[in-house]
């Protein structure tokens, strides 16, 4: 990991790093939402759909900053 943005290669198919980070961000926020539903933590939220979008953005930014540079 050299910290520079680079495309992800699956075979000969190249994917932009933002797409990968956003997809992973979405997946992680979905998992978080499932867990919060499972343990009934979402009842403390005012507007869960808004929190879902915020989580997806936060995860994507975190992944894009430190894990998959975008």
């Amino acid at each position: 990991m050299n910290g520079f943005p680079s495309e992800w290669a699956i075979g000969t198919v190249y994917l932009p790093p933002f797409l990968v980070a956003a997809a992973l961000g979405l997946l992680l926020s979905w998992l978080t939402a499932r867990l919060m539903n499972r343990y009934r933590l979402s009842r403390f939220l005012l507007y869960p759909p808004g929190v879902f979008v915020a989580l997806a953005v936060i995860y994507t930014v975190i992944l894009g900053s430190w894990v998959i540079p975008i």
């Binding site: 198919v13 939402a33 499932r34 919060m36 539903n37 009934r40 979402s42 009842r43 403390f44 939220l45 005012l46 507007y47 869960p48 759909p49 929190v51 879902f52």
Partner: protein, 716 residues
Amino acid sequence: MLLSDRAKDAIKVALAMVIAYAIALYMDWDRPYWAGLAVAFISLETSGQSFHKGLQRLGGTLLAAVMALTLLSLFPQQRWMFMIALSSYVFFCTYMMKSKHNPYFWNVAAFVTIIVAVDAAASNQPAFYTAVLRIQETALGVITYSMVSVILWPRTSSKSLVRTSKNLTKSGLALFQSTIDREFASNPHKYLQQQGEFSALQAKFADLSNIAELESYEVWEVSKQWKDTGSLWTQYERALEVWRQSFNEVDDLELETRIPWLTRYEAEITRRFKTIIDLTEGKDIKPKPLFRDFHIKEIDISGLQYFQKAALSLYIHQLDEIERITYQLHELTTVIFSENTSNQLDFHVKESTQPDVINMGQLKGALRAFLCLWVAYLSYIYFPNLPAGTVLVILAGVYSITLSSNPYLKPVSILVPGILSSAFGAFIYLLIMPHLHSFWSLGTVIFLSVFTIAYLFHTPQLILGRMFGLANFVMMTNIANHQSYSFNFVADQLLVFLIVIAIYAAISIFTFNLRPEVQYLNLLRRFFASTNFLLTEHQKEPHLEPTKLRQYIRRHHLNEVESIPHKMTGWIAGTSSGLDKHQLRRTVIILEALSIRLSVLINELKIAQSSQLYAALRKDIHDWSAQLKTDFAELVKDPTGATIGEVVRQCALSMPEMETTIAKVLEERGKDGIDLEERLNIYRILGGIRSVCRALEDYEDQSLKMDWPQLQEARF
């Protein structure tokens, strides 16, 4: 050669698909997959059903072609005006999908307009060429499948109609016997299952009676009688349910002794059903004359209190209603299956039409489609690097329009069949098709692929898999005379699909929140809001004729009260696992009872407006309904039932008062001074009030068992 129906159906679809492709490729038409799509979407169980759906597809395409060309010619260089007009038209068509007889026509009229209009903007070909191409390829698909289904193992709707009629009568008889045996009290699960089977058969019967006349002269000749039979079955289902609702009130009245002809009545109704079954089976029988002398005057009401007379009156009224319906069913069946003519009928069946009211569910679906189309269009304009450009707008339109009438389907649940079918299509397109060199080999691949999909996804429960499988096979393979292969094409198609689902999910979540728990509670509130309106309406001055608008709104609320419990059932399966679904279902059953009892009561009140007995009771009834109205208004705000104790107590207090008032009036005027029908009507009103109070008591008890905090809590 012994082949199952499943295999025969799959062979028919596969063969029709190969022939449609063969003709389109031979004629060198562009986009032969449009013919393939027509075959995929119109293939149904019988040739009549397929032909009917095919006609709707063709009619919708014709309207769409005209509309697309009109919109393009009106706004050739004004993209915003064009989109406003197109999306408004799509909104209208999607809302019209509420129609009972031709929803598919409106569905096609909406999405084909988007295809032709948007495609023409991005294509080198003139819009007229695209429109004509779409029409001719749709016609090719429709004609090809219709011919194949008529020639190869034909399955006519008329045979299916007769079979369904027989099964429906058997199911009606079984339901009648279960109702007599008080099956609902001893085994409610089994009873509800029987009721569900009856409703499903009834819907199938109504559908087939409209279609079979297209393909059979015998059915066409007596089509009115077939449709009247369908209306009568609808009336029968309701009458039986209303009858069952009155059981609790009369259980302690020793009915066998009070109604001397009750046993004979049950035997007579059973005999009628059996005769109908024999006639539908084609047995050569001479129907015996029906016994109809069940006299109300023979009933023993001695020693009964007024509320008991009231309950008995409601019970007898429904017996009378069921007798009338079964008599008419018997007579109509005799006309359809034996030598009697319709001139011999001494009655006229009232058509049970769908009330002309606002369909809130479809209105929301149309708004979802409208918004999806706009989001896709704005994305297409402002993010030009999105894959597959115009396809995004087209697919957003197609999916949101088609899904508009099924809000229960979660967007995520479409992902799996969509991705798997795309992968299957991509496999054929990238790995098999490049090795093919003639139409014979291509035809074999098409046949085997379509056969596999149609064979695997045969049952109605798997319809989603079948539709996605066939559509994505046709779209992904992109078969043409000048065939090209590109991985980008596959990747773009898949990405567009994911983006469209994301748009649809976002619109569904951020606008109407289609979470089952939220919808369940919303429907509960809507139910009480409508009951509240109906009671307000009843309290208005009877001598004032309601305006047309008022009548329309009243019809809307009546329809809401009758249809909401059924809609609530649809959401229960999707609720979170922590909730006790059994309790949710029980609440719906109580609401159904309340709905039926309220509409019976409101109907009786309407009849009683000019009665003198009613005039004496008017104040008491108004006081009671004013209290009920206040409580329903509270239930709209808080449906947990915590506030309805007062109305139940009030009811217990006001019932004896009403009885005293009736006794006084009868004493003053003498028993013979008041018409029997008028007296029965007042008894039925009393019985109705009592049964509504019982239903509210049940709701109060049931609400204590519900986990309201969990149902109301916020969730993702």
